[in-house]
């Protein structure tokens, strides 16, 4: 029997899969349902200080190899979100609260409220294009990443996981900046900047024109990011981007991830994907004679 358990910054998981932020995680009912379907933990939608409607539709385009989205961070705001987290926690779900904000001070406030709700950790969505930090996207400034991480660390007692953007020349230095600022783990990657155009209408499909690419298309980009980050830091890495099978998950684990998150695959595989991925991870590990998920972590490094 392969031991599927893993542990990220002291959070024990029954298996290495997590629900990725932004997918079926805006309501307590859905968070719990996904946990019950087999996810080792569930990450909430990124929640900000105030309710936000997000962008007008179309916000999602189904494309070859994944999804393009520009939902624009719709969320009920941190105050109303407590009830949703409580509902999920009442059902014994392991919940990680994702937050966004416009600057370090606001990040600290929202994260502190999220921690109050009883989440196991907070994840920082640094890829928010609305929240400008130092004249660019937060996720594209190492200083902003460090500053926000530090502010949140000072404000909460649970582990803090900054989530990095792949839209940078080199991702590892951002992970290093976050680690130095006290991060307990790194989540990588968020979506990749992209666009889809309708030839017949000669216009971008998304109301926001630009969006983020997710799904199988970005898996090799995410695996490389995790591989690079693993070589650069000592804190755990949580891999995300295009996981839809156990073999995908193993690519991330062997690249150095301690756990993987799954989002877009829910659109193609349903929420049964968590159990299916876990099952295939166990079967491949069994086949190649690795006794546990922990033994797979980082195995692709020399």
């Amino acid at each position: 029997m392969v031991d599927l358990r893993t542990e990220v910054a002291g959070i024990r998981l029954r298996n290495p899969t997590m629900l990725a932020s932004g997918i079926l995680d805006e309501t307590g009912g859905s968070l719990l349902r996904v946990f019950e379907a087999g996810a080792g933990a569930v990450v909430t939608k990124s929640i900000g200080p105030e309710p936000r409607e997000g962008y007008p539709n179309p916000t999602i385009v189904e494309i070859e190899g994944g999804l393009l989205n520009a939902v624009g961070l719709p969320n009920p705001g941190i105050e109303d979100f407590g009830d949703e987290v409580k509902k999920a926690l009442a059902g014994q779900a392991v919940v990680i609260g994702s937050v966004y904000a416009k600057d370090a001070a606001e990040f600290a406030q929202v994260a502190a409220r999220m921690a109050d709700f009883g989440v196991a950790a907070v994840e920082l969505n640094l890829s928010c294009p609305h929240a400008k930090g130092l004249g660019t996207e937060i996720a594209q400034s190492e200083e902003a990443v460090a500053e926000i991480t530090r502010a949140v660390k000072d404000a909460v007692d649970v582990p803090v996981f900054p989530k990095l953007s792949p839209n940078v020349a080199s991702i590892a230095p951002f992970a290093v900046a976050a680690e130095k600022a006290g991060a307990d783990g790194i989540v990588a990657i968020n979506t990749v900047k992209a666009m889809a155009i309708s030839p017949e209408l000669a216009m971008p499909i998304l109301a926001n024109k630009f969006g983020g690419l997710s799904g199988p298309a970005i898996k090799p980009i995410g695996v490389r990011a995790v591989y690079d980050i693993y070589e650069a830091v000592d804190i755990p890495v949580i891999g995300v981007g295009g996981v839809s099978t156990g073999r995908d998950a193993l690519e991330y684990l062997m690249a150095g991830a301690t756990a993987v998150q799954i989002g877009t695959a829910i659109a193609t595989h349903g929420i049964g994907v968590f159990a299916a991925v876990t099952k295939e991870v166990a079967s491949v590990l069994g086949e190649i004679g690795l006794p546990s998920v922990k033994d797979a972590v980082g195995a692709a490094h020399e």
């Binding site: 079926l24 936000r52 999602i60 999804l67 939902v71 499909i205």
Partner: protein, 258 residues
């Protein structure tokens, strides 16, 4: 995955002063009860029931807010985007069926009404609208069985709300299946009266949607998703629901009383 099909409008039929049917060709399937996401370029993308199945599909749209009003000004040959079909379907099980439709709700029901009739069931339709001019698909429903009409202002048929008409029909005749679509408060009434009599009932819900494919959680309803687990729900499920007829989610995801 279902890619966006950008297709010209092949036919446009004015059904009432505010409601229009748009027909288009799309090479994806579609069964009774399913919906498509309709991209009205420069305005919005909205869920709409398939009021016509087959290769030349149709949607029947109430020009209600900005986007649906903009759509009303689209001409033949103008292009819209459609992706789908999404959602579950009406189970066509039953010999004697009562369909209870309010307003544009009949757009979601009409394919089921025709489907039941085609497989030999006896279908009675209770069709409601504010006023006679706004009645939709009375002819199509009539071609599939008996039609009883209710208008709020009494300009045609029974004066009053369609659930009241439905209740009369349930008292007079034996039915083994009720299907319904319309405003959620109306659905609540129809579901209650059917369950009270021990009759199976399926209701199609309309909730705010973004993705249509079960990932964004915008259409969350209890711990279900209207776009994926619905839009058609069994009466028992609805009767046990905390949200049905009481709470909805706004665009930000806040749960607010209806």
């Amino acid at each position: 995955m279902s890619r966006m099909h950008v297709v010209p409008i092949l036919d446009k039929v004015r059904e009432s002063h505010h409601t229009t049917t748009y027909r288009f060709r799309a090479d994806f399937g579609g069964q009774a009860g399913q919906f498509v996401m309709v991209w009205i370029p420069r305005f919005d993308e909205l869920p709409m029931a398939l009021s016509y199945l087959g290769p030349v599909k149709g949607i029947t749209v109430h020009a209600y807010g900005d986007a649906t009003k903009a759509l009303a000004s689209f001409n033949l040959g103008d292009r819209i985007g459609v992706r789908g079909p999404y959602g579950n379907t009406f189970r066509l099980q039953g010999e004697t069926v009562l369909a209870v439709a309010g307003g544009t709700g009949v757009a979601s029901l009409i394919a089921a009404i025709e489907g039941f009739a085609q497989q030999g069931a006896r279908v009675t339709t209770a069709l409601g609208a504010k006023t006679a001019e706004e009645l939709l698909f009375a002819d199509r429903a009539g071609a599939s069985g008996e039609v009883h009409i209710a208008t709020d202002d009494g300009t045609r048929g029974f004066r009053g709300f369609v659930p009241a008409l439905a209740e009369k029909l349930l008292e007079k005749h034996r039915f083994d299946q009720v299907i319904t679509c319309g405003p959620e408060r109306m659905l609540r009434g129809v579901v209650d009266m059917a369950l009270k009599r021990g009759i199976k009932v399926q209701a199609s819900l309309e909730r705010y949607m973004k993705c249509g494919i079960g990932i964004c959680d915008a259409c969350a309803f209890d711990d279900k998703l209207v776009c994926l687990d619905g839009p058609v729900f069994d009466g028992e499920v609805l009767a046990a629901s905390e949200d049905f007829g009481k709470f909805r989610r706004d665009k930000s995801g806040r749960r607010i009383p209806i």
